[in-house]
């Protein structure tokens, strides 16, 4: 009986050592994968008539946090001038670089770009495109700079899956940037 008991205990302790196999979580580190990341936003203003192209960008190559954004331009426009405005979005953290603009175009029925100047007199925006449901998108449009002054231009990319109705309300922001705006 006593022998049996000893054996039982030895057996049980034996099982413990089986469990003590170690696994190193360091061998299986995977790079971060954020599916909605946008690292750069570029606004291209093409002057109607002259065709002069100016671009203004926001760049944060390593995404949120980490290093601070490397670029956040001030938009500079001529007063009382018409421009064609085309935005471009990239995820440069991926290899190859992910062209988010193309994906927005493909899923135009669930995205809406909103341009809000403050004060409103600085700029007037008119949508130049429509999705399959007839709602605006904002990947191309006309921006008319108003009287000279300084303020901001809020650029929002609204992600509105199954809810897009032409207004800003549904969905959530994928981009929400306040560019400084100078009209002179």
């Amino acid at each position: 009986m006593n022998m049996n008991r000893k054996l039982t205990w030895m057996l049980l302790f034996g099982i413990t050592t089986l469990f003590t196999q170690c696994k190193d979580s360091g061998d299986e580190v995977k790079a971060d994968d954020e599916n909605e990341l946008i690292t750069s936003v570029t606004l291209t203003f093409t002057e109607v008539g002259t065709g002069t192209v100016t671009t203004f960008a926001y760049k944060d190559p390593d995404g949120d946090g980490g290093n601070a954004p490397t670029k956040f331009d001030t938009i500079s426009l001529k007063a009382n001038t018409s421009y064609t405005l085309t935005p471009a979005f990239l995820d440069e953290s991926k290899t190859p670089v992910d062209d988010i603009t193309a994906e927005i175009k493909e899923k135009a029925f669930e995205h809406l770009l909103v341009y809000t100047p403050n004060p409103t007199t600085l700029l007037t925006y008119t949508y130049g495109d429509k999705d399959t449901n007839g709602y605006p998108i904002g990947l191309t449009g006309t921006a008319i700079a108003g009287a000279a002054g300084t303020g901001t231009l809020k650029v929002q990319l609204r992600h509105q899956p199954n809810a897009k109705n032409g207004t800003i309300t549904p969905g959530s922001d994928d981009v929400n940037l306040d560019f400084n705006l100078k009209v002179k």
Partner: protein, 773 residues
């Protein structure tokens, strides 16, 4: 780890004719045994309260109290390492006046008493929910079930994710022991609820205050014990079926248990249990919350064997849940959040649906446990528990990847796989002089975490070893205890930053200690005092978080230079218990040095979604002072009023400011009318209750996007009873309505308070059919 003892009493009440005091020849005798092992307990004190009669059990666990006059007594058994048990005994049942000279009568009665063997510090308040109180919480999550205890609240993410909060502390600052095993999930996350099916338990207990010595560092705020009943060794087949239906969410829960011994094979016991839960969208008083359904499938299997002093138990449980996260809580930027707050109700409108879409959480938790013990002839006892847990958490965001081919794979945006192996060896030394008992234990924990997806926390490996020693001493009306513990932990983390693998290594070690005393002042009045110190190492999210916490619209950044927090806890309580009145008043003071919290930074952090308020994990000193009061008074026959008050004031003493996310003070009142027998129904009761929760006024100024919600008052009603279908079958019926008046409210501890109102009226029907027992 937790076992219980039951006193198996054989009452022999005899009266034989004798000289002057003819009737005072009654006696009580019996055995005291540990139910877990069935072994007799030597050196237990058995006494009749209010008298000087008290004896010790002998080596075989036997006791005998002689020369008793007929009358009503309270028999009390006190054993070091077990909680005190009291039982009323009537030594004149059946023949009040018939103690005549020549009459000789022998009453033989078996009284089975089960009481809990407690590893918990006896000088710390332990509150238990079991029996009828537990039945009334059936169908709810673990966090919700514990809310009836004063000093315990919950932190919620909607109504389906609920985390227990003890004295204002939660997550990594409290420990949950599931069937004796330290629950290891991703508990650092405020939206990560404990992965436990409450139907596994027949008893939920809360130890308030730091209990780090026995259960390991981290238990700064308290410990929750989730305990099933002892396996039914050598007992016939029995079982139960529970059906619960809730009107809100049109939720249905089925849970059944079947258990027994094995005929012809002595010493075996087994149990199988399973639960299925399915619910749809929750309704607030004015609107449905889109995508708030739940689907849960859990089961557990247990088997055990006892032979003489030896015993072994095996347990396996699987918890599998899919929880929809309210889609209106998804925000991209601070602007989005401010717009929802301004709107006063969610932009996303919905009807009722059982569908669970994105965003959602898919969590499985597997636990495999083996426990073996041996009781040596001389009173020593050795117990060994080994357990493996695998926690698999998948979180799906609202938005699928924009790229269709990737989206079609429907991968979760976040995956955590946490694998934990724990080992505990505990030696209970034989009682010294029947007065001193104690235990020495060694615990190890090894775990590794693998994660993929959006940046949140790194992979890590963690190893922890702890040794502890606790001694308890009982003398007369005093009970003392003292314990020490030492823990050592290594942590290695691995992550990829800027395409480089970065590994960090940490060592944490520290000592914990506890001293306490319990004094029984009179038969009804007792006082306890406990002081202790414990510590908690910073967890991986506090060290390495770096990103936007979308639920909170905050950018949270960890700090890898954080050092452990140290808690100094004192807790005192006084309890008066008589037949008609029970009052327990407890006060606590918990000082946490180097308390880790999210400190707001002056500059916001700029992201492509705009500027987010920036918070950094920082250390300060914090104090938690509070009072818990609970009282039950049967002021008229069959009518009882119960009141519970929880008061807490938390303060950042280093910065002279309040702390965020501290539960508001609350008062819970209940009036209950009981009828022992009404037509065919036994133990019938009707009750009406009110919960009043104050507004949390003690918050740092400008610390939040919206001020803490207003105070609220909720009414509820309950009724229930039991029908005896046959000798061995009974049916319990319970009805209740929560939030009776469909009151609109929001709670400060609910993270969805920005987005939507809390849950509206919810009626439920519970049926429990038991057989064989």
């Amino acid at each position: 780890m937790k076992s219980y003892f039951f006193l198996f009493l054989i009452l022999i009440n005899s009266s034989i004719s004798h000289g002057q005091n003819p009737s005072c020849t009654c006696f009580i005798k019996g055995f005291v045994r540990d139910q877990h092992s069935g072994q007799p307990i030597a050196g237990a004190t058995v006494l009749l309260t209010g008298t000087t009669n008290g004896v010790f059990t002998n080596d075989k666990g036997r006791y005998e109290i002689k020369d008793l006059c007929p009358g009503a007594y309270t028999l009390e058994a006190r054993i070091v390492g077990y909680s005190v048990y009291k039982q009323s005994i009537d030594l004149k049942t059946g023949h009040e006046e018939n103690f005549t000279l020549l009459e000789q009568e022998v009453h033989l009665k078996d009284v089975e008493i089960t009481a809990q063997r407690t590893d918990a510090p006896s000088s710390q308040p332990l509150t238990m929910i079991s029996g009828n109180d537990l039945e009334q919480t059936r169908g709810q999550t673990l966090g919700e079930s514990l809310k009836g205890i004063s000093g315990v609240t919950s932190m919620q993410t909607g109504s389906s994710i609920s985390k227990p909060v003890i004295h204002g502390l939660h997550s990594n600052r409290i420990l949950i022991l599931n069937n004796g095993v330290r629950q290891e999930g991703q508990q650092w996350g405020s939206e990560h609820a404990p992965e436990i099916d409450p139907f596994v338990a027949t008893r939920l207990s809360v130890i308030k205050g730091a209990a780090g010595v026995r259960y390991g560092s981290d238990a700064i705020g308290g410990v929750i014990l989730v305990e099933p009943e002892e396996l039914p060794f050598n007992k016939p087949l029995s079982g139960e079926v529970n059906l619960v239906g809730f009107t809100n969410g049109r939720q249905g829960v089925v849970s059944s248990t079947i258990q027994g011994g094995i005929k012809g094979l002595s010493g075996f016991g087994w149990r199988a249990q399973g639960t299925i839960k399915r619910g749809g969208n929750i309704r607030t008083p004015n609107y449905f919350l889109d995508n708030t359904g739940i689907s849960e499938k859990n089961f557990s299997l247990g088997a055990g064997y006892r032979h003489k002093g030896f015993g072994i138990d095996l347990f396996y449980s699987r918890f599998d849940t899919k929880i929809g996260i309210f889609s209106g809580s998804h925000i991209g930027s601070v602007t989005d959040l401010l717009n929802v707050i301004k709107n006063g109700e969610p932009f996303v409108k919905s009807g009722f649906s059982y569908k669970i879409g994105r965003p959602d959480q898919n969590v499985t938790h597997d636990l495999l446990k083996a426990e073996a013990h041996y009781n040596f002839q001389d009173g020593n006892r050795l117990q060994w528990t080994i357990a493996q847990q695998v926690n698999n958490r998948n979180e799906y965001d609202l938005h699928v990847p924009r790229n269709d081919s990737i989206a079609a794979l429907n991968h979760p945006e976040l995956t955590f796989k946490l694998n934990t192996l724990t080992n505990d060896v505990i030696w209970d030394h034989k009682p010294i002089a029947g007065k001193i008992s104690g235990q020495i234990g060694l615990s190890t924990l090894y775990q590794y975490n693998l994660m993929t997806g959006r940046p949140l926390i790194p992979n890590f490996n963690q190893f922890n070893i702890g040794v502890f020693w606790i001694e308890r001493y009982i003398k007369n009306d005093w009970e003392f205890e003292a314990g020490v513990r030492y823990d050592y932990r290594t942590l290695s983390t691995h992550r990829i930053a800027s395409r480089q693998k970065i590994s960090n290594y940490f060592d944490f070690h520290n000592a914990s200690g506890t001293v306490g005393a319990t004094r029984n002042l009179t038969q009804n009045l007792s006082a306890r005092l406990n002081a202790g110190s414990t510590w908690r190492a910073p967890n991986v999210s506090e060290l390495f978080s770096d990103g936007v916490h979308h639920g909170a619209a905050a950018y949270e950044k960890g700090d890898s230079t954080l050092h452990p927090e140290k808690a100094f806890n004192s807790i005192a309580s006084i309890k008066y218990a008589s037949e008609k009145l029970t009052i327990e008043i407890g006060g606590y003071f918990n000082y946490i040095k180097d308390f880790i919290y999210l400190k707001p930074q002056p500059e916001p952090i700029l992201t492509v979604r705009g500027a987010f308020p920036y918070f950094k994990y920082t250390q300060t000193d914090a104090s938690f002072k509070g009072i818990d009061v609970s009282a039950a008074w049967q002021f008229v026959k069959n009518i009882t009023v119960t009141s519970k008050l929880s008061y807490l004031k938390a303060y950042d003493t280093r910065n002279d400011d309040y702390l965020v996310m501290i539960p508001a003070n609350r008062l819970d009142n209940q009036l209950k009318y009981e009828i022992p027998l009404l037509a065919n129904f036994h133990n019938v009761f009707f009750s009406v209750g009110n919960l009043w929760v104050a507004r949390q006024k003690l918050v740092p100024p400008n610390s939040d996007f919206m001020p803490p919600p207003a105070a609220y008052s909720l009414w509820n009603i309950q009724a229930g009873g039991t029908i005896h279908l046959s000798n061995k079958q009974q049916l319990e019926i319970g009805l209740s309505v929560q939030n009776l008046f469909n009151t609109v409210y929001r709670d400060y501890m609910n993270r969805f308070r920005y987005y939507a109102d809390d849950i509206g009226r919810n009626a439920s029907l519970r049926l429990k059919w038991t057989f064989g027992a």
